[in-house]
């Protein structure tokens, strides 16, 4: 019965979206983190989504979501001249992480909406399956 595949597909998508939500949480938590060393500063992270098997997708059009990795943002760091800061480098500069809180809030909303969509999909499909199981019962 092909309807069962929906649970795998939606499940993998929910998994991917929850990783995205986790990464967003990490980004937001570290949004204001500061370091005197530009190589040690927290940089915004983003998960990369992909489909499972491209050949299979071409044939059936059905695929779940897979995480291929997590990238770090290459956006420039915010350099601030704060010689009084305990972490400041020899020039008196500190480096602030390049997390954009606005972007992360948008990401958070997008991820949670997508997650909800998948939950609804599972609910609908489950109802359809239960009704199919009850076929011919009544009357």
């Amino acid at each position: 019965m092909s309807l069962f595949k929906v649970f795998d597909v939606a499940g993998s998508a929910m998994n991917a979206q929850s990783v995205r939500l986790n990464v967003t949480a990490s980004n937001l938590a570290n949004a204001g983190s500061v370091s005197g060393d530009p190589n040690k500063v927290y940089r915004a992270k983003q998960p990369i989504f992909a489909t499972f098997n491209d050949a299979l997708v071409a044939q059936t059009g059905v695929t779940g979501v897979r995480l291929t990795g997590i990238t770090e943002s290459t956006a420039p760091l915010n350099v601030q001249y704060r010689p009084d800061h305990p972490d400041a480098d020899a020039d008196g500069n500190v480096y602030v992480s390049n997390v954009s809180t606005v972007e992360e809030m948008v990401n958070m909303m997008s991820a949670s909406r997508s997650y909800q969509n998948n939950v609804e999909m599972i609910n609908t499909t489950r109802d359809m399956l239960l009704q199919t199981l009850a076929l011919g019962r009544q009357g």
């Binding site: 597909v9 489909t51 044939q59 695929t63 779940g64 997508s114 999909m121 609908t124 011919g136 009357g139």
Partner: protein
Amino acid sequence: MKIPAFAVHEQALKMRAERNEVLSSNIANADTPNYKARDLDFASALKSVQGGALPMKTTSALHSQPANFMSTGAELKFRIPMQPTLDGNTVETDVEQAAFAENAVQYRASLTFLNGSISGLRYAIKGGD
């Protein structure tokens, strides 16, 4: 035994189930870069199943079938997006959700028709009891 009363709805149910799968894949991949949304052309697929035009005739079990045909013989087509996106993804969540909801209702309609046929048959078997 093939019961004529079931014929269309049986095929329709199968195809609705497959379409449900394809649409769920679209919604699941709403955020996947370069994913291309697909859909089954339901009307023409059902017509071809009824006409028996698909799949291709073979004389040996080793002959391959065209890759694009699913078990019911329905053909997959790419969805033309209304708005372009930067990441090459052609899923429009609202369009897919509407199609998914519509498909779920149609699936239930097919189930209701089948239930009606079954209770009719049961009525006949029991002699109107």
